[in-house]
Symmetry: C2
Subunit: 301 residues, 2 copies
């Protein structure tokens, strides 16, 4: 270990956690990963996991640790109660302080909405990071993931949002349902995706009847797995886009994400003539944590 | 073991199998269950499983064994190729004979449809059983299950059908998704079911956006698990009914099924002013296998 970091940024989700060793000036000294997500930990296991991951760091001073994500849920390290919309993405001053012998830990709150009932934990920090670089943004953020979020941003605030379980449903159907036999491939068929998306957008209520057809087409007509997988994705994303239309129609949309899933949403939204661009989600998480850290430094100096 | 049966009726599905020890006159001597479904067996394991389950039966004569279900699929005991609609439910004369040292085994075929692509294996035998008692039925059969089927019957034939994965999707969402925390109960809230069904039928394309709300309502507003579970069921069944409307609207509908799931479909269809009644599905399976056996007896006598 060379230089000692000034603080630690942590994104602690359900299935994994990431830590960045940071300097005041934004330099990243190191980035570390762990599969010790919140879902597998009891309350008293969070600090040992963190200390284990950072065991090489000097322990005579309690380094600041800024945490976002599911570690702040009721079943997590310590509950960081939700802030209600409309609100600016909660920053360092809204964080919950956690007692620790080794670290100065602050956990950022999630955001809630009463009607329709909805919650986020972690995405609000990505949003804060995005708004740090584009403070005047007015429009829609789309955050693809296990639970995809559509977020309306105006005047620096989260106005409203809606969560779709599309990513989780895709994974369950593709890996555990009878469709797993039909979509078992790393391949992708963009033409099939676009065609099935267009079908679904024009008749979203047919979704339920079209899923088993993917299996039957494989059994009877040898539909290639890449086509079946792309059509499955189009059915689910198309059905989400149909329900989320009030969010994206005629709006400026920024997708916080990268890789195949973000690309699928970009293709799908482009096919609907929406104005779309993508930005890197991990960078936004780190920018949001950095913004919370800076806010705390200012308030204590 | 008392009286020796004249033949064995077998319903061999993906996750379990059932055998009935039968006399010519329709008397059931015994009924036996096994969890050795087709899904966990390789081709050469079917006969040992059967012989094991019936180990007390005299083996000097090869008893007739009539099998329906997934044992006839390509990955099963022996492939019994699909018969294409429109067709009468395939009977004993369409069965595939399987070589066996101990039994005279016949496996009944499934039914396929080209457009939209669809398949059934096992349900065709329930349909044959139903038509044995109501040969003049003209209308719709609804067969709830892991993969729910809607079947148009006219002039004794299967005219067309459509499969919905509603049962499997409900199980995946209720047991394995983030919603499992919100719907973990044996309870049921029929008022919540009926209200959510009505909502879903009027706006079926909202399905994707309403699922995560069940979780958020639990976190923010302590929605009872029985209400969340009933609403989840209503979202999925409502979405199926919306897509299957051409099948049931203005038609006579018979549900082949019993228990909570069949009851949910009955309530849902009644709420849509459809003409519905329920008949026992297991009885229909046995009646269909009996009909196939009688047909074979006649053709060999």
């Amino acid at each position: 270990m060379g230089q000692t970091p000034d603080w630690i940024a942590v994104d602690w989700g359900t299935t994994h956690m990431r830590a960045w060793l940071m300097l005041h000036d934004g330099t990243i000294l190191d980035r570390r990963d762990s599969d010790k997500g919140m879902g597998g930990l009891s309350r008293d296991q969070f600090e040992p996991v963190l200390t284990d991951l950072l065991s090489d760091l000097a322990s005579d001073t309690k380094l600041p640790v800024i945490v976002c994500g599911m570690a702040g849920s009721r079943q997590g390290w310590a509950e960081a109660p939700y802030v209600a919309v409309p609100c600016v993405p909660p920053g360092g001053d809204a964080a919950t302080r956690v007692a620790s012998d080794h670290w100065d830990v602050r956990i950022l709150p999630g955001v809630k909405q009463s009607n329709p009932a909805d919650v986020m934990r972690g995405e609000e920090t990505q949003i804060a990071g995005f708004l740090a670089s584009e403070p005047d943004f007015d429009g829609i953020l789309c955050l693809p993931g296990t639970h995809n979020k559509w977020v309306h941003i105006s005047a620096g605030e989260i106005v409203s949002f809606r969560t779709f379980m599309t990513g989780e449903i895709f994974a369950l159907l593709a890996e555990q349902s009878v469709l797993r036999h039909s979509v078992d491939t790393d391949g992708w068929d963009e033409a099939a995706f676009t065609a099935a998306l267009s079908d679904t957008m024009s008749r979203p209520s047919d979704l339920a009847g079209k899923l088993f057809s993917l299996r039957a087409e494989g059994l009877l007509n040898d539909m290639p797995a890449a086509e079946a997988k792309s059509r499955l994705s189009a059915l689910l994303i198309g059905s989400e886009l149909a329900a989320a239309k009030p969010y994206w129609l005629g709006q400026q949309v920024v997708i916080l994400g990268e890789g195949a899933v973000a690309r699928a949403y970009e293709v799908a939204l482009n096919a609907q003539a929406a104005m779309v661009r993508c930005v890197d989600a991990e960078n936004m998480t780190l920018a949001g944590l950095t913004s919370a850290y800076s806010q705390l430094q200012e308030s204590t100096s």
